[in-house]
Amino acid sequence: MSYFLIAARSIMLLPFLRNIKGRPFVLAVPLLWTLLFFVIPFGIVLKISFSESIYGAPPYGAMIEWLNDVTMSIRINFSSYLFLFQDNLYVKSYVSSLGLAGFATLICLFIGYPMAYGISQAPLKWRLPLLLMVILPFWTSFLIRIYAWVGILGHNGPINSLLLNLHLIDAPLTLLNNNFAVCIGLVYAYLPFMILPLYTVFEKMDSALLEAAADLGARPFLTFLKVTLPLSTSGIIIGSMLVFIPAVGEFVIPELLGGSDNLMIGKVLWTEFFNNRDWPVASAIAICLLILLVLPMIVFQRLQMRKS
């Protein structure tokens, strides 16, 4: 037995450790962590979104003020929210974020679905390597993978030089700094999140069902529509949520590939916070984004819980 184990055992036998109530301790640590670093922060965001924007540090007004020893005044200020709805920019950004994320999710589904199916049908010894190859890019730096597209889509990039050399175009196309580039970036970054849940579903699927459908005379397309597709619904939903939810609030991709005209809400929030230093408006943007995403998040959680 190693010294480490002996040491661990003797520590465990110390009487005071025996007296620690195990269960409350096990519950308390993660509970306190999530309350302090997740629940309370959102309370603060909510509070600041109802505060007044002032010039100072921190740049928001106090909400509760003691006028004298007994009278307390609570000031709730809706101006940040009103501002969001008055200025066209914010509504537009929400709409364009949802649209771009939705479109990217669809493309991920169109590429990811056949890929996941193909991997699940591959010979057994090929499945693990193929799957690892899907996960591998996820382990490399996200930032660097997005950065790679800056070079590829640029004016001197390989796509433009290829098209120019083939004389298909006369002048380089503008592929970068627009919604097209953002969409490519989103699909590229989140495709593995679509493939993995779909693969799990396909792997569990009973191939006897497909054979039965074929034996009973169903055409392949009908079999797909009536058997494969319904059986893979949970994978489609989980995969779509895993792509859609983070894509809506994405900041890095629109910042690097979208150019200055791009309006994605994550970028707008960042600008509001860091450049304009308007914390109440930034908080209000975050709260509205949360409200937009809460429904898909609940659906996702439900499916996750049902699975486990």
Partner: protein, 276 residues
């Protein structure tokens, strides 16, 4: 008909992998390019690697990132394991679903929101006299831990839910203290998921730029923050060299992990065959 269908699927798979890998290949190839232009090939050279390894700010940031990643992954595994025990074992606890939801929510939360919320918390805490941390490495570590706990909880919960509890029950019946049962039986059984969770938490921390930018102070810069600020102003071959190093390390790690999983599966198959 069947052959045509499988050829179509093969084409999509080929296209998919090309889409995933060509951009990374391009980064690697152009990291050995002598020219400053990252898209026009001139001559083979390793000068960007030389410059990278002598770039003090990048080296310093890499050290900061490494510290943050190791500490946050370790805390995340400890807290995440406790949380997973609560979720799978405390069946009578009310609000277990809510508890699980709160812990895993950062996984799907947009980074800008998590970053903003945590920064506002740290700013508020700084006004209290009991808060020991100023904004910097420690706050980035706390933020990354919170994010990583979500992933660790998911991994370890699924492992704890599927394994055979009779071993634990046998030990308890024989009079072992619950803590002893945990350290001698449960922990060794879930070690592979602990390692997987730690590695995932480590990568997530090394990968994050948005949350770190929100919660970091003036003096502390992580590697992704440096990379982000330099690629924001255009392409730089030094970053290509850095990418190549990261990709090679990760590929090596994944190949080793793959071989290990493969060997274990083969062992299990042999054991099963002998058992029958």
């Amino acid at each position: 008909m069947r052959a045509k269908k499988s050829r179509l699927i093969l084409m999509v798979i080929g296209f998919g992998y090309a889409f995933l890998y060509l951009p990374i290949m391009m980064l690697i190839v152009f990291s050995f390019n002598e020219s400053r232009l990252v898209t026009v090939w001139s001559r083979f050279s390793t000068k960007w690697y030389y410059e990278l390894l002598h770039n003090q700010s990048i080296l310093k940031a890499a050290w900061v990132s490494l510290q943050v990643a190791i500490i946050s992954a370790t805390i995340a595994v400890i807290v995440g394991t406790l949380a997973a025990i609560v979720i799978t074992r405390f069946k009578s606890l009310r609000g277990r679903t809510l508890f699980n939801g709160l812990l895993t929510a950062p996984m799907v939360m947009p980074d800008v929101i998590t970053g903003l919320a945590l920064l506002l918390l740290f700013v508020a805490l700084e006004q209290s006299p009991f808060w020991p941390f100023s904004r910097g490495i420690s706050t980035i570590t706390i933020a990354h831990t919170t994010l990583a706990i979500a992933y660790v909880v998911v991994i370890i919960t699924s492992r704890l839910a599927e394994f055979d509890r009779s071993l634990e029950e046998a030990a308890l019946d024989l009079g072992a203290h619950p803590m002893m049962v945990f350290f001698r039986i449960t922990l060794p059984l879930i070690t592979p998921s602990l390692i997987a969770g730690w590695l995932l938490a480590f990568t997530i921390s090394l990968d994050d730029v948005v949350i770190a930018s929100f919660v970091s102070g003036a003096g502390s810069t992580t590697l992704p923050m440096i990379v982000f600020s330099s690629v924001r102003w255009g392409v730089t071959p030094q970053i290509n060299a850095l990418a190549t190093i990261i990709v090679s390390l990760v590929t090596l790690g994944v190949i080793i992990a793959g071989l290990l999983i493969n060997r274990q599966q083969r062992l299990e198959r042999i054991l099963n065959r002998n058992g029958r």
